[in-house]
Symmetry: C2
Subunit: 133 residues, 2 copies
DNA sequence: TTACATACTGTTATATTATAACAATTCTAA
DNA sequence: TTAGAATTGTTATAATATAACAGTATGTAA
């Protein structure tokens, strides 16, 4: 069997799937990923979902919840901060990860009245991008 | 056929499904809703999803994207503002709609560097609620 | 009233997204 | 080198959501 690619902490399947997502200009869905990696020997949904779960867990990719799709992280500190924000065009469906220190700090320090302490948040903005409006 | 319940703007199926969600202490999933309204003559997924779509559209309920589940709106202005925020306990899964004017204003006036103007946002906070920590 | 448009309903089938379960292999660290 | 942890491969199935089409109810305006 091929050696695992531990020099960068990703296993073989994780690396294949990360590379695909990272190269993609748009969010990729799990089954789109599956179709695109079958030539690399990844044949079944669980193989894809397991790699996706791990990549999300370590902050290399994020799930766009409203689209059931995945994008590569464009920031350096998502793994640590667990603070994600995206802008989503409702027309062309372009998604951008927002990296705004003030926004991130504001939300990370937000305290709920009911005494809940937050560990993580996900924010999705919707509108029309420059091109589409 | 029964008269539509237009006195409050909801159709028969919409009213049945809204009442169920509104009474529920926790977010409800579409198929849980389906099982619970079959005695009222709603038999198939499209009937549920159509009512859910409409109720979301008019702001009577919200979808918790990370859970594929629906809650009744607890605010008065969600229909207008299209600004939703939730706190979600990762242990007991309790979900609360956050109604914080400052937060809502801050996010509603947030402008993306790339020139996108937002019409709507959804924010989900995760952590441990008072009871669970 | 009639006729039309719009919204809603009922139904069957199917598409899409995600996980359970289990056996085998590979990696890591002691 | 060996045991535990992580990863992989595989089959089957669960859970979530929509397509398509025919029919019914409602509001509006001639
Ligand atoms: Zn990121
Ligand atoms: Zn666009
Ligand atoms: Zn609301
Ligand atoms: Zn809790």
């Amino acid at each position: 069997m091929t050696r695992m690619h531990k020099e960068n902490n990703l296993s073989k399947n994780q690396q294949i799937i990360f590379d695909l997502i990272d190269k993609s200009p748009e969010p990729l869905k799990a089954y789109t990923i599956l179709y695109n990696v079958q030539k690399k020997g990844i044949n079944a949904p669980p193989q894809v979902y397991r790699a996706l779960d791990k990549l999300v867990e370590i902050g290399k990719i994020h799930k766009i919840e409203s689209k059931n799709a995945f994008v590569a992280c464009k920031n350096s500190d998502c793994e640590i901060s667990k603070a994600t924000a995206f802008s989503i065009c409702e027309s062309c469906e372009v998604v951008d990860e927002i990296s705004d220190v003030k926004l991130s700090k504001y939300l990370s320090s937000f305290n709920h009245k009911k005494g809940m302490k937050f560990k993580r948040f996900n924010l999705e903005f919707f509108g029309l991008c420059k091109k589409c409006k």
